[in-house]
Structure formats: C-alpha cells, structure tokens
C-alpha cells in the first residue's frame, strides 16, 4: 500500500526527496526533509542564510558529497529511481541534472562555443559530431537568449562577456546536455537588475520543458518566477505550497513571520 502511494507521487513528481539528512562533519545542515518537485514546474526554495537550502539543492545532483566530511542519508528519487542507491554513478546523475551557481563560472581557458559544448565533451562516449555539436551550441545559446549577442564572436574567450551574459552562458552550458532537471543556486545574486530580469525571463521560458528548482534569497524573485515555493528554516522544511498561496495565506506562523520580514 505504502509503496503504491509513493509510486503515485513519483509519477507526478520529477524529483522526490525522502527523509533527507545532509551533514558537514557533525553539523546537520539538512534535517529530515521530504519534498516533491513536480515535473515541468518551477519550485523556489527560500529561507534565511544558512538554513540549508543550498545544501538541499546540492544533494539533488550529488554535489554535496564532493565536499570533504559531507554525508548524506535518505533518498532522492529521480523518476522513481534513487540517486543514492548502491551502484548509481554520481557522474551520470550530474549529466542528467544541470546546475548553475551563484557566481558565473565560465571556464576561462575556453571560448564561448567551447564553454557551451563543455558538458557534451565531458565523456568520450556518445560525443556528438562537430556539426551536431555546433547545432546544439546554437540551440542552447538561443534558449538562453544569448545567441544574438554572441554569435559573431563564438571563438572569443568567455571571460570577455559581462557578468549577466556569463551567467546566461552558464545556463546555456547546463542546458546543452538536455537535462530533465536544472538546479539554480541563487543565480542572480551577483547580477544587476537588468541581467536579473533576463535570467528570470529565461526561467519562465524553461517552465514546461524542464523541471526547475531555484534557491533564492529574494522573496520577490520566488514570487515572480515559481509555481511552488518551499520555505526552509534551520535545516528543516517548514512548508511547501503553490507560490500564490505561500505568499498570501501561509499555514505556518514561521513562514508568515519570514515573508512579512520579521526576521531573516
């Protein structure tokens, strides 16, 4: 019975997290979190600094464990398959779940084109032909709304771009491998308002085709871009709800206190 109900949830959810604990040494950064991320929707994770939202995000593509002393327990189901099961290769996981970080991270030694193609070249197996690669690069840059700005200088160094362009380049790079899920870790924290707006528009466009999970400090941003919002506090998931509901009638007093600006 219990298994059936779990399967039913997993069908609607692209990623389901079950009783997840994440630690750095003795510090328990994520405490017994269970949450579903619905397929094709944008879910925002909000909460004050140090509440564990980034750590939770990094558990979803097994990046958390790249930090020494980091430990994870619990389950993360991608399409019903536990990413932490024995025999699952974290490298494979990361190829299916894209990630963009707080600061733009273009590879400084690579051209714009090579940056976008970097994920495609991560493995020597099933590497696309040079022509196909070029097509994917164009598609990804168009998706990221960057093609018109850079198509004449694809061979230039990626570091020549502005911060906002670099961040959209990183999104294009993450999208090039066609992940089913994309994780955005405060993607606009280091950007100016105009670049922020462009990234937010991009998130809007991705809705439907990709499952987006965005960690943000900025509640207005969560309200603007997400379908669902999750609120975390001190490592615990306080509540998850459709975004309009979350910001108008939160069920937990702590959520209400946070979104009305009483702390954080």
């Amino acid at each position: 019975m219990k298994n059936d109900s779990r399967a039913a949830t997993a069908a609607r959810a692209r990623i389901s997290v079950r009783n997840l604990d994440a630690r750095f040494g003795a510090n328990r950064a994520v405490r017994d979190v269970s949450i579903d991320f619905p397929d094709g929707q944008v879910t925002a994770i909000i909460g004050p600094s140090g509440c564990g939202k980034s750590t939770l995000l990094r558990c979803l593509n097994r990046m958390h464990e790249t930090v020494p002393t980091a430990r994870v327990s619990g389950e993360v189901l991608l399409d019903g398959r536990d990413l932490y099961a024995r025999g699952v290769n974290p490298i494979e996981v990361r190829r299916h779940i894209g990630m963009v970080f707080q600061r733009p991270t273009p590879f400084p030694t690579m051209s714009i084109r090579d940056n976008v193609a970097a994920g495609l070249r991560a493995s020597s197996r099933d590497r696309p032909s040079r022509r196909r690669e070029g097509e994917i690069v164009e598609e990804s840059l168009r998706t990221a709304g960057l093609w018109d700005e850079v198509h004449e200088r694809l061979k230039d160094s990626a570091t020549a771009l502005s911060g906002g362009q670099q961040q959209r380049l990183c999104i294009a790079r993450a999208m090039a491998t066609r992940p089913s899920v994309i994780l955005l870790d405060e993607p606009t924290a280091s950007l100016d308002p105009l670049s922020t707006q462009k990234v937010e528009e991009l998130v809007h466009q991705l809705r439907g085709s990709v499952t987006v999970i965005i960690v943000t400090h900025n509640m207005q941003q969560a309200a603007r871009v997400s379908d669902r919002t999750a609120f975390m506090l001190l490592g615990e998931l306080v509540e998850t709800a459709p975004t309009p509901e979350m910001f108008t009638t939160p069920s937990d007093p702590r959520t209400e206190a946070y979104i009305t600006g009483r702390f954080g």
Binding site: R103, F107, P108, T109, A118, G119, R121, A122, A174
Partner: protein, 293 residues
C-alpha cells in the same frame, strides 16, 4: 570661529606633512625598484662588453681550439647543455607537475603534508650535495661519468621547484570552476586535468621556465656527473660538455683568451635561457582558446 580656523590650519599642515611623507616614500620605493634591477642591468652590460666580441658563427659551430690558437667555439657545450636540460625536463616536469597537482588536490592528506615538507627540504638541498648523491648512485656503480647522470641530478633539483609552484598555481584556481565542471558530469580526473590544470597552465609554464633557467646554469651537480668533455659527444652514456662547466673551466684558467671565451659562454647561456622562455611562452599562447579536451 577660531576653533574652526585652527582645525583648518591643522588639516592643512597635516596635508603638507602627508604630501611630504608620500614623496619620501615614493622616492624610496623608486630607489628600491632601481636597486632591484641594477644587478641585472650591470650584469648584462658587463657580459655584453666582455663577451660579445668573442661571439661569432664559429663560437656556435666549432669545437675549442688549444690555447694560443685563435678561433674555435663551444658547439659541444651548447648542445651538451641542451641535452642535459632536456633530460632534466623530461624527469622534473612530469614528476613535479604530477606531485604538485596531488598536493593541491589532497591538501590535508597526511602523505601530502609529508611530501610537501620533504619537497621543501629537497629544495633547500645544496646543489653540490645533489651532485655527490648522483655520483654515488649513478656514476660509481657504472664506473664512468655520463650525461644521463648529470641530467638526472638536474632533474632531481627541478622536481621540488616545479612541485611547489604547480601546487600554488593549482590552488589559486577557484573552487567554483572545479564545482562547475563536476556539476557538468566531468569525472574527477578530467576536472583536474582539463579544467583545473588547464586553467593553471600559464602559471605552471612560467614556473617551469624559471626552474629550467635555474638548473641550466647549475655547475656543482655536473662536476661529478656530466663531468665535461673537450670533444664532441651527444651520447647520454658518456661524459658531456656543458656551458656552465666550460665557463668554470675557462674562467679558472690563466689564459686571457680563455677568459674572454668564458664571458662569451656566459652570454650565450643567458641568451639560451631567454630563448627557452620566449619559445615556451609562444607555444602556450598559440594553444590558448581552442582547448576543450
């Protein structure tokens, strides 16, 4: 009113004082900068004055002539130095870069701490000791001096230099870049090689050049290993000539024309180091950009 006036005067006085201090400090720094480059300028000037006149085509193409005979050159020593530096580089660069990458990636590991410490000890080892060591293990058992022994002694001297420099360069590559590569599904080793090492490469090349320049001029480790050779030889199992050895040999001789040749050899040695630097810089620059794998 008076108080305000006083305050203004005080500020003015302190501004004048600060300007004067700034001027003095600026001058001192300027002086220090000049003094820092002065030895090099004097050295180059002196080398050019003493050595340039002895350098001609024969210097690069001929073997030495006996004392008193005009002409002759140091072709064998130039080639010998290139061979020795080549052997040293073939040993020192891969081992040093590999070890440096290991130290940077496994920062806290107990083995890394020991390797780092031993590498520093090795770095401080007097070069003559390295020569005796190489003689004991590479020359004595074989029974004769050889270019290989000299190259290995120089290579061993290069290892700690390259190791620590590589470690420093790899460490300054932001963790964010490493994470970005891992998040794209790069395996750990591939992240280390094609992202981290690649990003640190210009710095590592510079460090490698400094190391090559350092060992190209080493004399002490070669005294008991490569030994020197008055004749043409490119065999690695035989004694081989080298510019520093030749300089040493000629400089301590009582003959004026040999002294002049020693100056010329010194000038050529410096020129050689300069050419190696320029060449390697050119190579890394033309590689820049299109490397994705």
């Amino acid at each position: 009113m008076t108080a305000r006036l006083q305050a203004t005067t005080a500020r003015r006085r302190s501004l004048g004082h600060r300007r004067a201090l700034s001027g003095v400090m600026g001058a001192l720094m300027w002086l220090a900068a000049i003094l820092a480059t002065l030895p090099l300028i004097l050295l180059l000037f002196h080398l050019l004055r003493e050595g340039a006149s002895s350098i001609d085509l024969a210097f690069f193409t001929r073997l030495p002539k006996p004392v008193g005979e005009a002409g002759g050159g140091m072709a064998h020593a130039i080639v010998g130095t290139l061979i020795l530096v080549g052997i040293a580089g073939a040993i020192g660069l891969p081992v040093g870069i590999g070890a440096g990458l290991y130290l940077a990636e496994q920062r806290g590991a107990r083995l890394a701490t020991s390797v780092r410490f031993l590498s520093d000890v090795l770095n401080g080892m007097p070069s003559i000791v390295m020569g005796i060591f190489a003689w004991h293990f590479l020359v004595r058992p074989v029974g004769h001096f050889s270019a290989l022994a000299g190259g290995i002694a120089l290579g061993a001297m290069m290892i700690p230099l390259v190791t620590r420099a590589t470690e420093e360069m790899v460490r300054i590559v932001p963790t964010a870049l490493r994470e970005a590569a891992l998040a794209l599904g790069y395996p750990h080793w591939r992240t280390s090689v094609s992202i981290v090492l690649r990003t640190a490469l210009p710095g590592i090349v510079t460090a490698a050049l400094v190391a090559i320049a350092r060992i190209a001029g080493e004399t002490a480790p070669l005294l008991f290993t490569a030994f020197g050779n008055a004749w043409w030889s490119v065999r690695v199992d035989q004694p081989i000539a080298a510019l520093p050895l030749q300089i040493y040999e000629y400089a301590k001789s009582p003959y004026d024309d040999w002294h002049r040749l020693a100056w010329a050899a010194a000038l050529v040695l410096i020129g050689l180091v300069l050419i190696i630097s320029l060449l390697a810089r050119f190579v890394t620059r033309s590689r820049h950009g299109g490397v994705g794998d």
